[in-house]
Symmetry: C2
Subunit: 322 residues, 2 copies
């Protein structure tokens, strides 16, 4: 297959190198592969390329420039909302994402966030900065109830990590399809009934037209007083101004966010300085040292399925958007 | 049995109330019980008291005032270093502690500390205060190696929580006695050989004459660059000035401390403001809402063993100091 890897020079920690490619494809039939960063780099090989690989930010400018032999686009990210709407995808070209890459760190991040919120660490660290010995009581995390929205790679890993810590987990997905790491799964249509029972709300679903603004001001208001919020999905799932208001008012207990309405989150943004809010720079489900190896192993598994004429495990449904 | 409960009014979140006592002893033969806070309160009943109950801070001033009928002293804390040396204990009087009370929160605290250090959260939160989008790479916690010093209630719970997160755990105790939640256990005499292999050092042992200053400047220097340190035992186990030096120099990756050389840690102390150091106010293994119920359930289990003429599971050995 003729492969082109398009990298995003603005995200230098995640460049796919010839070494990554070689390691991932050692057991593959030989592919001719080129690497580029600019539109010109792509245009030089466009007419021959059958498989186009890269992160959404690098693929985005190429959407209107695709060549005649293209068969597959591989997003080196699980969320393809940056390529939406997916109507640019030519007939017969499949879009594949790398879901499965993020599980280990996503589980650890959700566990950390839940423990940090249960221990009231943001308030303790604020007291620390003032040199104040503040003995805030904090019941254990074990025994609490979490609502995990999205039961894919991220949400499943989060649910698994929470249950290991003794948390009761209710998953939420489109149709309430059961998940082995959730105590129960309910359809998203039941959300308003579920929010008042959640000590912890974890957002781990893709951003699509159906999920944009899912947790709006009204729904944040349905959470019980003192509840915590964790977002590892996408910033636009959540009304961040309403979240900051609820934290400032002390109505919610705390929040841990790894994703934001604009990234990088600009200096001076209210999110940076809202109390009981921990903001991490959209890296917490990623381990740069292993990311591309994990991701390309998922690509090659999909290539094997492709050659065998089987369904592609990571194929994105353009209508659903994930 | 004639019981006196001596409370510490300076620790109002942990007062043992008549309700606590009633709940704990519902299945006990009736005890006459009095409650007090001052030395005068105790002296009024001293001549009759057979069982004296209280936290070390409340028992400490009574050590030279014990009455003739005393048979048992129950420390409403696991660490009895505040009562050391234990030479004040009259012949035939047993000292019992509440080890077993702290496990759930200790496990959660160690898990949180390990995840916070692996994710480099202290540095991310410092960047957050400055409104800086700092994409620090952080490999997962899973697969790292922790050295847990002390394999009692705290260390055992910590080891269990770490292994669930995929951490390889080497426990350390006096003689290298195996522990079911550790991959291996080595004697404390092997410490110098173990420290260079530890990504994470967790201190969870009692403070005794044998452990005071155990992790001194030289031993901190044996840890590999970037290692993390967690202390839930006692502040005096560790040379805190050497720890702060190593953090300031960037030689160690971070530290999470719940115990300190002086408590409350005074305002202005260097520990409050050392970078990559999280300081929590010696509460993180305690849940005030359940503490006394858990603790007194342990006391009544020991009273049952006492009446049955069996060995007391929580008896403190005055020679060992725990």
């Amino acid at each position: 297959m003729r492969v082109h890897v398009q990298n995003d020079p603005d995200d230098p920690g995640f460049l796919i190198t010839p070494d990554h490619w070689r390691r991932a494809t050692a057991a593959e039939p030989p592919h001719a592969v080129s690497f580029g960063e600019t539109t010109e780099d792509f245009l030089r090989v466009r007419d021959e390329v059958e498989l186009l690989v890269g992160p959404p930010a690098a693929l985005r400018p190429l959407r209107a420039l695709l060549g005649p032999k293209l068969r597959m686009v591989f997003s080196n990210a699980a969320g393809v909302d940056g390529l939406a709407p997916l109507d640019w995808l030519p007939d017969g070209v499949v879009l594949v994402n790398n879901r499965g890459t993020h599980g280990v760190k996503a589980g650890e991040y959700v566990a950390m966030a839940a423990l940090v919120l249960a221990a009231r660490l943001p308030a303790l660290m604020e007291a620390q900065r003032e040199g104040r010995w503040l003995r805030l009581p904090a019941p254990p995390l074990a025994g609490r109830h979490a609502l995990v929205i999205g039961t894919g790679d991220l949400g499943g890993a989060g649910a698994r990590a929470l249950r290991v810590l003794g948390v009761r987990v209710t998953g939420v997905n489109t149709r309430g399809t059961p998940h082995p790491d959730c105590d129960a799964v309910r359809p998203v249509a039941a959300l308003d009934d579920l929010l008042p029972e959640a000590d912890l709300l974890v957002l781990a679903c893709p951003l699509t037209e159906a999920t944009r603004g899912l947790i709006d001001r009204r729904r944040l208001g349905l959470l019980p007083a003192g509840a915590g919020v964790v977002n590892i999905g996408r910033g636009a799932l959540l009304d961040d101004a309403a979240l900051c208001d609820a934290l400032d008012a002390g109505r919610l207990g705390g929040a841990v966010l790894d994703v934001f309405p604009v990234e990088p989150l600009p200096q001076g943004h209210r999110i940076w300085r809202t109390r009981n809010l921990v903001a991490t720079p959209h890296l917490s489900c990623d381990d740069p040292a292993s990311y591309n190896d994990r991701s390309l192993a998922i690509l090659t598994a999909n290539l094997r399925a492709w050659r065998a004429g089987e369904a592609l495990p990571n194929r994105v449904d353009p209508a659903r958007g994930y």
